[in-house]
Symmetry: C2
Subunit: 133 residues, 2 copies
DNA sequence: TGAACATATGAACAATCGCTCATATATTAC
DNA sequence: GTAATATATGAGCGATTGTTCATATGTTCA
């Protein structure tokens, strides 16, 4: 059962007086809702992916491991900026570091992310191509 | 060809002096990079999805059309806050409005989004379950 | 040891965010 | 027309963001 909104009365959710869901349909609907922790975690994941620099970092890592300075070069940002972003990505377990001498090599730590990118691009491309309606 | 970083010299990307990609591998890698517009568009999409309120809105719409006041009730936010967020989601063509009398009913405007959510949740769940390493 | 290099991190700052509140628009009923 | 309802939007404000710059940490080589 979701817990963020369940403090509200469960039966009728109707501040507007319209052809509404009846109590049963409404309750059924509430039960399908994601739990608060799931909502937070999902939003957090998308939030981390929602920045061009981080998208670029993940993109360059998609074809394999790279050290920080190469990432910085390829994405066209300072090494400091990249390092800060890598920390966030590490925190979300999206990338994983491997030290070798002075450099630290980063890899994608979850192949789901590549699938996520592809799925996201599918939406983006539909946007630009279609413009139906 | 990507255009944001291509102003930099294309051959060697090595401020650090390490066992590096050679020129050929580096060039090949550069060519696989997403274009800047694609990067921006993808990041923008994820950014819009990266907020708990918007995740909740999409979640409640996943089981079908709802008017604004019902959405507000189900996600536990003010109608004004929800309306502001719906505007963003509309702008990204993630939801679509349909007016019927005084109410405006919203639907998901792209089934890709549901797939994106599922894919995102797959990452999130792996996090919580595994904690390997 | 000390200098040079690669990366990480803290502080600071402008820019952006998501909310609230007040107000505007649109529709319905009278 | 006016009043009431449903939604949309602009202004404003505290909170968060992503960068830069300075500094700290960790590694290699002499």
């Amino acid at each position: 059962m979701p817990d963020a909104t369940s403090k509200l009365k469960v039966a009728a959710e109707a501040p507007c007086e319209a052809p509404h869901l009846d109590g049963a349909a409404s309750a059924a609907r509430r039960q399908r809702l994601m739990t608060s922790p799931a909502v937070e975690a999902l939003a957090e994941t998308f939030r981390i992916l929602g920045d061009p620099t981080r998208v670029r970092i993940i993109d360059v890592l998609a074809s394999g491991e790279l050290c920080v300075c190469d990432i910085a070069e390829l994405v066209g940002m300072s090494e400091s900026a990249v390092s800060h972003q890598l920390r966030l990505l590490r925190g979300m377990r999206l990338v994983r570091p491997r030290r070798s001498g002075r450099q630290v090599y980063y890899t994608l730590d979850d192949q789901h992310i590549i699938a996520l990118f592809r799925q996201g691009l599918r939406h983006v491309l539909e946007e630009r191509a279609g413009t139906r309606r």
